[in-house]
Symmetry: C2
Subunit: 637 residues, 2 copies
């Protein structure tokens, strides 16, 4: 056994663990609970898990993801490298940038917020009341005397029952502090509770001077990215918004790898800890800090997520989701409380889970389709959610049919060597001068922000532009020479967006042929899913009247370019509507409103699920779509 000492960029911490010569550095890191990104789950294909060898001897070959110069500096892929002696390795901060960086939104501006609020006006306009059963009740109780020795709880519940005309339920959490709160406030108090049928359920008892809002939280748990909003339960006013990476990413980029990991000994706990302790706890803490409220002020929550993600969140075995006959533990599960899974909130806060309708169409889609309002429209519409899983819903108020495809993490910047989430430093738009081949970049962040990597919308633009300018062919292979085009010693071409001097990190930002092929596969999965779904209904894209595109791919998605590369059907551009993170909007609506919650369940019950993987024709459609724009070029003429 050797000792591996992990050191961390921008940190004084060290972690030491014993490792055998048969274990990779990534294996050892996982044992030691050291977070190294490995979207491909350690099979050497994504190139994300790089570490820098500071001392010691290792075995393992140089891969195409490491340049000669980098190799000389000590860079290695941790999944392909094993110790031959005691080691000291540096875990780069940048490697986990797209995973761990948390972004809190400025709610005073932002296109995404606007989109978000438009969605909700639509919901309201459709007659879904955006309200809940929470109330604050002010009470002045008689102070006890030697002749009036009624105990505190009876004193409270009798007066409250009379005022609200309901039976009172006083759970342990508010009971605990009752005598102190009554006496600190001279028996003049404010009760926070929720009406449930004939019962008024108490959550908190506080003073009259406590004017902090009653809060709700909506959460979208994506396979790669997690976003959440905190809002005032009274009127739905947004108080904070934040997003970050899903901490489970180091157990695999897609749901299949995560399910395999959770099936290992202790895996369910590890995956659950990764999403709750590592991801949601700091995310909700950021929301609360931003809004200036304690987490115990969160009284109602809703989570929209795919079937695998909500199983892993609950710590429920997800293996049956993956294996025939593909049975989730639940579609609807309505009894969850924050304390059950240790979410930072009032312990009795209900956690509503947007319902699943199948193994691969989950609550993110039912919530998203709800927010996209397909169920309230006459027009035949298509809803496309671009995430690690791509999901498609087609229909109108008369019918809804859905399917899912595995796109991989490419749309969120995973599986792409310089990919990243749509956060500061991400290149979100690209144009290329056809003559000089020089790029013009749109970068997220303040003026002067140098590029760190590429987010999904930037990749779409870049591939569309490379193809338009004839720099790559329909298979994604480089066919023009130039200053911006380079090849490594294996002959793999790449387009250089930023040289080491031009980038924020001192490392080149480029898109190579492997990345392009990965991305073509992702866009092909989406297009062929749409194609197959419409064919199954004996229709084609000519019937479409509207296309709603959702997902965290970046607010600036260029629809023309997306059509140009054959990702979306070739319909008039004005039919496309980017609706942002509709899953988050749906979660927000469910957390805010009993009526929305009920409506999402109704939409889910009326949605038909089509299993693509067993559908004849899908594989052919997929292969045909893995070209730029398509093997059948007439579709994009």
């Amino acid at each position: 056994m050797f000792e591996i000492t992990f050191r961390f960029e921008n940190s004084e911490d060290t972690v030491v663990i014993a490792a055998s010569p048969e274990e990779t550095i990534l294996d050892a890191a996982r044992k030691a609970n050291v977070a190294i990104d490995a979207p491909c789950s350690g099979n050497g294909s994504c190139g994300k898990c790089r570490v820098k060898l500071l001392s010691g001897e290792v075995s393992g070959l140089q891969t195409s993801h490491i340049s000669d110069e980098e190799y000389a500096e000590g860079w290695r892929l941790s999944c392909c490298t094993k110790p031959l002696s005691d080691l000291s390795v540096l875990v780069p901060d940048i490697a986990s940038a797209y995973r761990s960086r948390m972004k809190t939104a400025d709610l005073s501006s932002g296109k995404e917020i606007e989109i978000f609020e438009n969605l909700l006006s639509g919901v309201r306009a459709a007659g879904v009341e955006l309200k809940n059963a929470f109330e604050t009740v002010d009470l002045t109780l008689d102070a006890p005397t030697l002749d009036d020795t009624m105990p505190d709880n009876e004193r409270l519940t009798r007066a409250l029952a009379e005022k609200v005309g309901a039976e009172i339920e006083l759970p342990f959490y508010p009971m605990r502090r009752l005598p102190s709160v009554l006496r600190e406030n001279d028996f003049s108090i404010r009760v926070i509770g929720e009406r449930k049928g004939e019962t008024f359920l108490i959550y908190d008892i506080t003073g009259r001077n406590d004017t902090r809002p009653l809060c709700g939280v909506g959460i979208d748990i994506g396979t790669t990215t997690v976003s959440a909003v905190l809002f005032d339960l009274k009127d739905g006013r947004l108080l904070a918004k934040a997003s970050g990476g899903n901490g489970q990413i180091r157990y695999g980029a897609d749901v299949i790898n995560r399910i395999i990991e959770q099936g290992k000994n202790g895996g369910r706990k590890k995956l659950q800890d990764a999403i709750i302790k590592e991801t949601l706890v700091p995310l909700i803490a950021a929301l609360c800090r931003q809004a200036g409220v304690p987490a115990t002020r969160i009284y109602r929550m809703a989570v929209a997520s795919n079937t695998t993600m909500n199983h892993l969140l609950l710590g429920v075995d997800a293996d049956p989701v993956r294996t025939e006959p593909y049975i989730p533990a639940f579609f609807h599960y309505e009894s969850l409380k924050a304390a059950d899974i240790g979410l930072p909130a009032h312990p009795n806060a209900a956690v509503r889970i947007a319902p699943n309708i199948g193994s691969y169409v989950g609550g993110d889609i039912t919530a998203g389709a709800f927010a996209a309002m397909l169920w309230d429209r006459d027009e035949l519409s298509l809803f496309i959610d671009l995430g690690t899983n791509g999901e498609i819903v087609f229909g109108n108020r008369d019918f809804l049919v859905s399917c899912a495809c595995s796109a991989g993490p490419a749309f969120e910047g995973g599986d792409i060597s310089c990919g990243m989430r749509a956060t500061d430093g991400a290149i979100e738009s690209v144009t290329i001068d056809e003559t000089t081949m020089e790029p013009t970049l749109g970068i997220i962040g303040e003026a002067g922000q140098k590029p760190v990597g590429l987010c999904g919308s930037g990749i779409i633009d870049l591939i569309a532009e490379l193809f338009r300018c004839g720099i790559i062919n329909s298979k994604g292979i480089f066919v023009r020479e130039g200053e911006r085009v380079a090849h490594d010693r294996h002959g793999c071409g790449r387009y250089i967006l930023a040289t080491p001097n031009e980038s924020a990190t001192g490392r080149e930002v480029a898109l190579n042929e492997v990345d392009i092929v990965n991305f073509i596969r992702a866009k092909g999965a989406i297009y062929s899913a749409i194609d197959t779904l419409l064919s199954a209904m004996d229709m084609d894209e000519s019937v479409l009247e509207a296309v709603y595109v959702a997902g965290g791919i970046g607010s600036g998605i260029n629809m023309q370019n997306a059509v140009r590369i054959g990702m979306f059907p070739n319909v008039p551009l004005e039919m496309f509507h980017y609706i942002g993170n509709s899953s988050l909007a749906g979660a927000y609506a469910i957390a805010l409103s009993e009526a929305a919650d009920a409506k999402v369940s109704e939409v889910a019950r009326n949605m038909t699920y089509m299993e693509l993987s067993t559908h004849p024709g899908y594989m052919d459609a997929f292969v045909a779509a893995c070209f730029l724009p398509h093997t059948d070029a007439s579709r994009f003429a």
Copy 2:
């Protein structure tokens, strides 16, 4: 600041803490969470908090509790001793013997078990059904197929609803393991649940081969002693019994000192931890070990305890109980679950709290009076619960009136220099030869057990015998000389029951004048409470038809001696019935039976509380009773 190093008898552990010259060793021990018994809460009166100085210099005077020889050996009272240098002190194991020793009962024998079961036959005979709403239901579900993809939870709840004819509630705890349990058992399962009105509430889903019993637990939390039974919910069969000291003892021997301690910064948490983490968690673990079941198999619990103890258990501020107008936070509190306060049991297990009726008459008395069956008898009966608080209930099926007095811990061996609980090594009975003054001892434990100390019943016998033999006078002062009588240099007399050679510990076992005075005060409190309660009803002891004596004072209490010292009223001996721990029996009945639970609440609602402390005449009656047997000797003629 100096460093104090605590070492422990029979342990390799050490604990080091910094302490100022102004702090006592006891203060430092409490800061360091080192358990040193201090029933008097550190005012130098009980003499229990002795430690042995191994090295270092200290300030503080020798007290009467430490002999010259012991002083020379390094023994000091930790509450009266402060550091003058770094110290090393030994914390003796024997000091905490009466607190921490846990005793598990052999259920195949034992007078106490017999008494316990007789009580329950009485309850059953009175028409109270000893059953609950727990059920096990065997189900065979259709295994899912590609054509039958209903998720697990719907599959379960539909089949179960049909079988039990009720709406199904599936909380998170059983939901969590659902997919695994279904598949491990080929969809042929056993459901454990409870009917609640129209609902069937699931607790566990398990395999058909799981034949372990569904368990309930009844707990009596006394100020000094805690006892519990674990039983089969199906038929009430006892599976295990255990008892131990209340870990809160180091924060004071009586409820007043505990309430003061819990009012300090962080005190509520400390007192709650002392009863839950230090006391109930190991006690329940012992029960489960004995019965061979995991704690999660406990589905229903009940606690009988005085008002202060149940407030401290819940972590609810008890200060209003102590200060005018003496208002508890609750009399009845019915919403508690095991998970709310971290009791080791199924997290959804209800924890029923026997109701309080006043600040100083709590659930131990309502549960005890229930078990003593006063509410079902025609005879005018007296119920006496001998504990740190003494409580009296008087009446019959037509009325019940109760009061409480503070007896201190003497009946349970506290406040007595060689006192201990009624466990192995306790002298539980004494006779003295009037001529030779030599004692004959009855000692708890196996044959040949040497004495460790005196439990309550032994103290009653000893004082009665010393008085009968003219060795002490009616004030408790030694008036005969002899080999067994000694005096310290302050002139304080004592009777030696065992010399260092004769004892189990190498230390003398004796009862001194201070102990006798403490005990006379305790018995005086009980007698005067009975006297005052009867007088207030315009009655006297001549109306009594039965006297039920309860408490952990020792099963062998000699009623004649108790009357002889003026502790109990002078009624014919055949009227006395020792009924053991009736509070525990009541808790057991509440945990086992919904009907018993309801009946205890009814008894509590019909019981009148008389506040003794403000009652004119009580103080005079108390002073008159602080003699052997009484200032009015005609009462005991």
